[in-house]
């Protein structure tokens, strides 16, 4: 029997390391394609300033990329060290995308990053542009595989449990890759990275404009960032809805937690705009509702309904009772692998094997599980509602705020009026942390909402952890927190230093720049003459 404190500490350690890692990932995903767009303008127009723009943002990309890779490495090992039962149980499925992700990250992405950084003077323009596109594609395809693996945990597709090997085995790689959850999750996450990159570039460019430094670089970067951002934000909201729609069908308990839905209701269901969910009483306090909105949001129809926790708990009782014979059959098969009766019993109940595991936490001999123990196990299917409920609302609110920000930013930028809108530039600087927080909130919803499962409906979290001692877990947790604190200080120092320093000043002997009439004209006689950098 696992020590629940060790399981909880393993969860804390994974949550801290993955949330920390995900501070770097979205910026890599988004900034890489922004660099591709900037360099595309350089290659197509030949204007030297776009090379400087791409090189400057490339430097910030590199700092972020290095820390993203370093913190990502620990995640891969953590599956083996802290979640060894999980790794052996689903390794056949989880291992393949994880391995491809590693290959993508270290061979495709890292190789081309090296060529992108050191190849400016060694490659032709077109060749370097192709390399930059490969970096962007490599970063995002690397994320694709880890998100496919995560989607399997949210909505297991393309695999089945083999009682002969006592583990899950892959039955369809196509089903694994093309599950609706994987598709919606990848695009939602990837485009959330685009939004992060856009706000990052827009915010820093706004800071330069406020300071009156590097105006030409900042105006162009801002224009490109806000166009990139407005389209991406529209995409991220659309895919957020798609993910909610797909995920709601696959994980009804997560959806019920996101909406604070304790009791099932008839259609059309109201949406809880604000509420204070009480886990103990299983009610919401002080709720403010929008009539009909929930049915529309989660089922896209006025007569659609989704089950509340009352119904889900009731269903779980039935599924646990159906899963118990499957667990008993496995116990027999463990000692007598060829037992035909046990195998037949397993096949008849295998659909609810995971639910049988749920009650094993309270009754080691599941055949003797009491109704009270089954009831307690059934209540476990309700995740911690309040943090999921509020993380979801925080994410949505930040998403809508970013959409409004980008729409206004596009108007100012297209009018070529942005440098004069100092109040808006100040807002742009303060917007920089928002997408990072929104991404973290999104992952909290996804991962807290999946509880009590590591693989939804198949493998409970309490069974998945390794059997370390509490002391070992506390020691490694403190070690990670200490090390990552040093990392974040190093990252912030390097980023701020690079931002304060700004882009490398153009060389005087650069023929492209000297002969560029636009650059010289706009600095001397254009509408922003007064802002030209000194």
């Amino acid at each position: 029997m696992h020590d629940i404190t060790v399981v909880d500490l393993s969860r804390w350690q994974f949550a801290i390391t993955v949330l920390y890692h995900f501070l770097f990932v979205p910026l890599t995903l988004g900034l890489s394609f922004m660099l591709a767009a900037m360099e595309t303008v350089y290659v197509t127009t030949g204007k030297q300033i776009y090379r400087e723009i791409a090189q400057f943002w490339g430097k910030l990309f590199l700092i972020n990329f290095a820390l993203g890779v370093a913190t990502g490495l620990t995640m891969e090992f953590e599956f083996g060290t802290n979640w060894s039962f999980y790794s052996s149980f689903v390794g056949d499925i989880f291992g393949a995308p994880l391995a491809i992700e590693g290959l993508m990250a270290f061979f495709l992405e890292a190789t081309f990053v090296g060529m992108m950084v050191f190849g400016w003077d060694r490659l032709k323009r077109g060749q370097h542009l192709a390399v930059t596109y490969m970096v962007a594609l490599g970063s995002n395809l690397s994320a694709l595989w880890i998100l496919i693996a995560n989607s399997f945990m949210q909505n297991p597709q393309g695999a089945t449990f083999n009682p002969a090997t006592m583990r899950m085995e892959l039955t369809s790689f196509t089903q694994l890759i093309f599950s609706h959850d994987a598709q919606a999750k990848f695009v939602h996450t990837s485009i959330a990275g685009y939004v992060t990159g856009a706000i990052f570039v827009a915010g820093i460019s706004a800071w330069y404009m406020l300071k009156g430094r590097h105006i030409e670089l900042a105006r162009r970067s801002f224009r490109m960032a806000v166009l990139f951002g407005v389209l991406s934000t529209a995409g991220v909201i659309t895919l957020g809805d798609a993910l909610g729609f797909v995920g709601g069908q696959a994980q009804p308990s997560k959806l019920a937690a996101m909406e604070g839905l304790w009791k099932s209701e008839a259609a059309p269901m109201p949406f809880n705009l604000v509420a204070f969910p009480s886990q103990k009483e299983q009610v919401n306090h002080d709720q403010l509702q929008i009539p009909y909105a929930l049915s529309l949001l989660v089922t896209h129809s006025m007569d659609g309904t989704v089950p509340g926790f009352d119904k889900l708990e009731q269903q779980a009782v039935g599924r646990i009772k159906n899963g118990i014979p499957a667990v008993e059959a496995l116990q027999t098969l463990a000692s007598k692998p060829g037992d035909a009766a046990a195998l037949a019993q397993f096949r008849a109940h295998e659909k609810d094997l995971g639910y049988g595991f749920l009650v094993q936490r309270y009754a080691e001999d599941v055949s003797k599980a009491t109704d009270a123990e089954i009831g307690t196990a059934a209540r476990d299917i309700i995740p911690e509602v309040a943090p999921i409920f509020w993380s979801f609302r925080a994410m949505v609110a930040m998403g809508l705020a970013m959409l409004a920000f980008f729409v206004l930013a596009v108007i100012f930028s297209l009018r070529n009026d942005i440098v004069r809108q100092r109040w808006f530039l100040k807002i742009a600087v303060w917007m920089i942390p928002v997408p990072f927080l929104a991404c973290e909130a999104g992952w909290l919803v996804a991962e807290l909402g999946r509880q009590p499962w590591t693989v939804y409906g198949v493998l409970p979290t309490w069974m998945s952890a390794s059997t370390h001692s509490v002391g070992y877990m506390i020691f490694s947790l403190v070690g990670f927190v200490g090390l990552y604190t040093v990392f974040i200080i190093a990252e912030m120092y390097l980023m701020l230093r690079a931002i304060r320093k700004g882009p490398d000043e153009p060389h005087g002997d650069d023929p492209d720049r000297d002969s560029d009439p636009m650059l010289n004209n706009s600095a001397k006689a254009g509408p922003f003459a007064g802002y030209a950098e000194g």
């Binding site: 922004m34 595309t40 127009t45 990848f186 490109m224 529209a234 254009g526």
Partner: protein, 72 residues
């Protein structure tokens, strides 16, 4: 006032586009949408940069023309 109206108009367009995508994409081929969408986002972004240069050139020419007219 003009900015506010433009903001409201563009927000409405953005919301309309999002709603359309939601209705059409209940079980959409999202990988394909990502490929096409990313390409489109990158190209529109690049076009935005080039457009800024064109706006600057136009403004510079107008300023120059204004100065010449005053001299004349």
């Amino acid at each position: 006032m003009k900015t506010l109206l433009l903001f409201v108009l563009f927000m409405l367009i953005a919301i309309l586009v999002i709603l359309l995508a939601i209705v059409l994409g209940d079980s959409g081929a999202w990988y394909f949408a990502w490929l096409v969408g990313t390409g489109m986002i990158v190209l529109i972004t690049a076009a935005g940069g080039a457009m800024l240069d064109a706006q600057d050139e136009h403004a510079a020419l107008e300023t120059e023309a204004g100065t010449n007219a005053k001299r004349a």
